[in-house]
């Protein structure tokens, strides 16, 4: 086995093991609670469809009725792992069993990043690229829940990688047609995971087009022979054709909800996202409710959440890529593949630019431009490797190693420090959670922090107490109960007026609910809480006598 393969497989195995080990501490987020239920329902579809093929459409309508705001591929995978690990083997609870599907895709992401890192910057690049992605605390948090953002990021990276391999000289064992076919299948899986994958083919086509203009560069470098962007007398990007054909086929095949009434259901699905609600969101002391939203938002939030040294490396990588295009354009860098550089640059910048658009809803932390992060990680890793080679060619590995240690050690520290509160992670430029709270940034989202007060609630809540979980859904509360993490005698309340115990999660837009709790319980004094660096994330209130 080659060193590259060992590194890539080690990364894949390491991410899978780490995700499984650190996942139980991460709470159930709002969307996850819905996807876990949906996955359980989707998993029952296939056996029922095989048993009674004549009624397959009716079965599809029934089993895929939960949550058709998003397609079926990733949730189907969550259902598969849940069936295997929870229903059949009984080695996990239902939530961790569903999450295993997400961990597998995170592991796939690590493998791809390492492989592509090796292609771009040698074995050191392959070793560093996944670290630049997974040691960003918010990215690390997204490894765990059974939600769609990291899966679609992994599948978009995979599609882009297959596209790149199909059109460049480094094709490996597969032919151009093989990689094109793979990119079509992978795009289908990405489309079957989340709708932001629809933006991928235009970005790839754009990279191919702009990469075809090579200025004074007379010949291609070894990595770009017959490369992505060549037009006259060179290879056509057949991968785009494969994507156009196979993408929708895989989408429909993995989402039986679309097996009839296809067009109106696709229209309803996309229409939902075109007119998505704007959830209120705190940004620089202002509660954003309606467009136009600030254009700088994704750039500022990225700059305040990615650990500073990784951020510097990523920005350096972007500048290096742009400089390589300019040098090649001027005919000074014959070895540089202009199309590859464009592909990396556009893939890094487009997801951020898309969310910067003022009418696009701004919520959910960094998750909506997460697909940019693997490419920024690749560029950052390559920039560090290049720096080592330039500064001390004879000891390039050692120089890169020292720089990588300086860049990654504080990030690893931060990941360990904020876990499992990844949605509340802010970097040292922001001043961590305290600095971000002073700045008036969104403190957290998705209701997963509740998990940290469950032991206190189990220990102190009066028997049969009614608990208001606020941002945590009733579905999540029941999943905690079924997984044995919340007492079964506790009931779910609809609001503070109806509750004995209130688990209030800090959201500026819902502050009135906390004050209603004060009125209702006749106290403003919490009985328990969760704080990250003294910043309250969750505060538990109780009626007199309901907390023992």
């Amino acid at each position: 086995m080659t060193a590259r393969r060992i590194i890539s497989l080690s990364w894949a195995a390491g991410v899978l093991a780490l995700a499984a080990a650190t996942s139980p501490a991460v709470g159930i987020s709002r969307d996850e609670s819905v996807y876990v239920e949906a996955a359980a329902s989707y998993a029952r579809f296939w056996p029922e469809a095989i048993r009674d093929p004549a009624r397959v459409l009716a079965t599809a309508d029934r089993r895929y009725a939960p949550n058709h705001e998003h397609p079926g591929f990733a949730k189907g995978l969550f259902g598969l792992t849940r069936t295997a690990l929870f229903d059949i083997a009984g080695v996990t609870g239902e939530v961790q069993g569903s999450r295993a599907g997400a961990w597998l895709l995170a592991s796939f992401l690590a493998l791809l990043l390492s492989l592509w890192g090796c292609e771009l910057a040698g074995t050191l690049g392959g070793a560093l690229a996944p670290a630049f992605f997974f040691l960003v605390p918010r990215n690390f948090w997204h490894v765990h829940p059974a939600v769609l953002d990291l899966p679609v990021t992994a599948l978009m990276l995979a599609t882009t990688y297959a596209f790149w391999r199909s059109t460049s000289a480094s094709r490996g064992r597969l032919s151009t047609a093989g990689w094109a076919f793979a990119s079509g299948l992978l795009l289908g899986a990405a489309l079957g995971t989340k709708h932001n994958a629809w933006f991928l083919p235009p970005v790839l086509a754009c990279a191919w087009l702009v990469g075809s203009f090579r200025g004074r560069q007379e010949s291609h470098g070894p990595a770009s022979e017959g490369a992505v962007g060549t037009v006259r007398g060179h290879r056509f990007p057949w991968a785009l054709v494969a994507m156009a054909v196979l993408g929708p086929v895989v989408l429909v095949a993995t989402w039986p909800w679309l097996w009839h009434h296809t067009l109106p259901r696709v229209q309803a699905w996309l229409g939902y996202h075109l007119h998505h609600e704007n959830y209120p969101w705190m940004y620089m002391g202002t509660l954003l409710r309606e467009p136009p939203f600030p254009v700088a938002y994704p750039v500022v939030v990225t700059a305040l959440t990615v650990p500073a040294a990784i951020l510097v490396a990523m920005v350096g990588g972007l500048l290096q890529s742009a400089a390589r295009i300019v040098a090649a354009w001027r005919g000074r860098a014959p070895a540089v593949s202009i199309p590859t550089e464009w592909l990396l640059l556009l893939s890094s910048l487009f997801p951020i630019a898309l969310i910067a658009w003022p009418s696009v809803p701004h919520f959910g932390g960094v998750k909506h431009w997460l697909p940019a992060m693997p490419f920024l990680a690749l560029l950052g890793a390559r920039a560090l490797v290049t720096t080592g080679r330039l500064l001390w060619p004879a000891r390039a590995g050692a120089v890169t190693g020292v720089l990588a240690l300086l860049a990654l050690a504080p990030a690893a520290w931060q990941v360990a420090h904020v876990h499992p509160f990844g949605t509340a992670a802010w970097n040292e430029i922001a001043g961590g959670a305290p600095g971000a709270a002073t700045m008036g940034m969104q403190r957290q989202f998705w209701g997963d922090s509740t998990v940290a007060v469950l032991p206190a609630v189990n220990a102190h809540a009066a028997p049969g107490a009614r608990v208001w979980f606020q941002e945590t859904t009733a579905l999540a509360a029941r999943q905690y109960q079924r997984d044995g993490r919340l007492r079964r005698d506790l009931a779910v309340a609809a609001g503070p007026e109806d509750a004995d115990v209130s688990i209030w999660q800090y959201h500026q837009e819902f502050r009135d609910r906390e004050f209603r709790t004060w009125t209702e319980f006749r106290t403003a004094r919490p009985v328990a809480g969760v704080l990250l660096d003294e910043v309250p994330l969750v505060q538990v209130y109780a009626r007199p006598g309901a907390w023992r």
């Binding site: 510097v312 120089v399 720089l403 305290p434 008036g440 906390e514 004050f515």
Partner: protein, 323 residues
């Protein structure tokens, strides 16, 4: 071997003189061109320096952060001081405002007078119109070492204080007492008088609550309409002294979307102040009436609330008479 040209020969020319450069600009440009654009190694050095600096900054930040924030012992010490020293008319103000662990640790009532509350206030900034009603002394509890600083509250409290005691250092906490120069002590407030007031309504519910107005908790009287009917609410307070002014605020509780409401204040049947609660104005609208020209006798005060549409969160009305 190179031959020198014959200075007397026909082809010899003197080299052209350098262009006049009285300002030194051309020389500067010539020199700049020797250093710009930098070579690849220079860029790599700069990049390595930036990554190293950012990495070291990150390590320093992570290593020092816990030491910049208060420990449980610091909190216990602050609670002990406030428990010992607090008296009616005191309030605790937090700086930075997110330091709300204080609510869990500090006493909720004055220990020596359990019937009196000890308000814990968390203002992002202390605006001039924030009158700290009912407060004589402020205990400013701050984290001077917190990343992002403690905000502007201390600098805005200082001009209002007749005397300042402290700061007392309690580990990473600082406790400073500000004795306000002109405390605003109301003669009465609508919230306190609600139990004895006459309330006329068909299907609205009128209660005293703590609700969110402009991101802050405010004690106010909330009128809420549960059914489809939107009949006005009339709250009548009989026989009250007015002092020199009536002040208050009207807002939609929780800035909930929906319709608005108009609030009229009448003294002895004559409208003296009016304000509207409308969506999109989270801090509401002030109510103010100069009562200094009225005779110092007791008066009847009426508050009329007229909704203009469904108000799901309710209308929050705060009204007080200042001496």
């Amino acid at each position: 071997m190179n031959e020198h040209p014959d200075p007397r020969g026909p082809t010899y020319r003197l080299p052209s003189p350098p262009p006049p450069d009285p300002t030194g600009w051309y020389e500067l440009r010539r020199r700049a061109r020797t250093v710009w654009p930098p070579g690849d190694r220079a860029w790599a050095s700069l990049f390595a320096l930036a990554v190293s600096a950012a990495g070291l900054f990150g390590l320093w930040f992570q290593a020092t952060l816990p030491g910049r924030l208060p420990s449980p012992t610091d909190w216990k010490a602050a609670a002990a001081v406030i428990t010992r020293e607090a008296r009616p008319g005191d309030a605790v103000v937090l700086a930075p405002p997110w330091a709300e662990r204080a609510r869990e640790i500090l006493p909720e009532r004055i220990p020596a007078r359990p019937e009196v509350a000890l308000p814990i206030l968390a203002f992002p900034s202390l605006d001039p119109e924030e009158d700290l009603r009912g407060v004589r002394r402020v205990w400013l509890l701050s984290f001077p070492g917190a990343p992002g600083g403690t905000g502007p509250v201390a600098s805005r409290l200082a001009p209002r204080a007749a005397s300042v005691e402290g700061p007392m250092q309690l580990g990473q906490l600082e406790l400073t007492r500000y004795d306000l120069e002109t405390p605003v002590l109301p003669l009465w407030s609508l919230v306190d008088r609600l139990p004895s007031a006459s309330v006329q309504t068909r299907d609205a519910r009128v209660t005293a609550e703590t609700r969110e107005v402009g991101f802050l908790p405010r004690s106010c009287v909330v009128a809420r309409w549960s059914g489809p009917g939107l009949d006005p609410v009339v709250i009548r307070l009989a026989s009250l002294p007015l002092g020199i002014s009536l002040v208050g605020r009207v807002a939609l509780a929780g800035n909930a979307p929906g319709g608005g409401a108009s609030v009229r204040v009448k003294v002895d049947g004559v409208e003296v102040a009016r304000a509207d609660a409308t969506p999109g104005r989270p801090a509401g609208q002030p109510l103010r009436f100069d009562a200094s020209r009225l005779p110092p006798a007791s008066h009847e005060v009426t508050v009329e609330i007229v909704p203009s549409g469904p108000v799901p969160g309710g209308v929050c009305i705060d009204l007080a008479a200042l001496p």
